[in-house]
Symmetry: C2
Subunit: 181 residues, 2 copies
């Protein structure tokens, strides 16, 4: 941040009175501009035991596979955001179920919140942000071509839980970006 979104003057980086961290403070109007982690919502959507996967048409990680997920919008719940991402990326209508994983992606200043889901109707297709969409059985998951560590973590915990007949909530913290390739 270089300029104040409120008044357009230059911002300076300093610790405001009563605070303990450096913030972006406007040199003219004095407004303090905080930067906080962004929420990403997504889901592992099952149909007949197979899992909905999308190959990304957009950066970052274009060409790699993911479960439907994206930035949460104002005015929606996490469950609504996860369902919307399924609609946008995979033209799929899902019922969002229990929470599966919360992954702190510290280097990206994001928190990924991943639910379980089931198909509300069997159709799906290729959304504008996807190159390809498919239902994958467990042995068909392209582990080496998954886009993000949070997706790997979520799918592993999902599959372990499914095999064990349980639906737990799992936490992880990731501190480094994946190697690009």
């Amino acid at each position: 941040m270089n300029f104040c979104p409120s008044c357009g003057a230059a911002v300076v980086r300093r610790i405001p009175a009563g605070d303990h961290l450096p913030r972006d403070v406007c040199s003219a109007c004095g407004a303090v501009h905080y930067h906080n982690p962004k929420l990403v919502a997504g889901c592992v959507a099952e149909s007949g035991g197979r899992i909905l996967l999308c190959r990304r048409a957009i950066e970052p990680r274009r060409g790699f596979w993911t479960v439907p997920a994206g930035f949460m919008e104002n005015g929606e719940t996490l469950q609504q955001a996860a369902a919307r991402e399924c609609q946008e990326e995979a033209l799929a209508q899902v019922e969002v179920g229990r929470l599966c994983a919360i992954v702190h992606v510290l280097h990206a200043q994001q928190v990924h919140v991943m639910f379980r889901a089931t198909f509300a109707s069997p159709e799906f297709g290729v959304g504008v942000e996807s190159l390809e969409v498919k239902l994958a059985a467990e042995h068909e998951i392209p582990w080496a071509e998954l886009a993000f560590p949070s997706v790997v973590f979520t799918l592993r915990r999902f599959l372990e839980d499914r095999a064990a007949g349980r639906e737990e909530l799992h936490f992880a913290a990731i501190e480094r970006p994946p190697a690009q390739g």
Copy 2:
């Protein structure tokens, strides 16, 4: 947002190509500035069956009671954020436990993530953002003087679960601000 935080030019509100919602778009550099819900992390911290409550020294809802909670910072996990808020508001060191509630505070564009916690050491005190801090037994909770609906929801579910000997995760969505008074 009136001015572009990157280049300082005026922003206009329009739907960018490939998007479906109006965004703040810079009239000069073209940068799209998204606004997403902010995360608040907090906890219900127990000591000997009593619950840690803080009377707020700051707006909004100065003078009303809350569990320790506040905006998550970049670079920390939700659990670390909840523990930090206990330290700042109540000078208490806690061990953060299982997730208790996720409350979508839609009108405020916030998601409140509330954990269970226990005291790691028995001391506590009055942090700079608090007027008063106390341990309250269930019958001592000042329900009519709680600061936010998300705190009411979290404490009710926490107490129901505790009485039933379980630790579930509960969701809620709140669409209106509390009546001021």
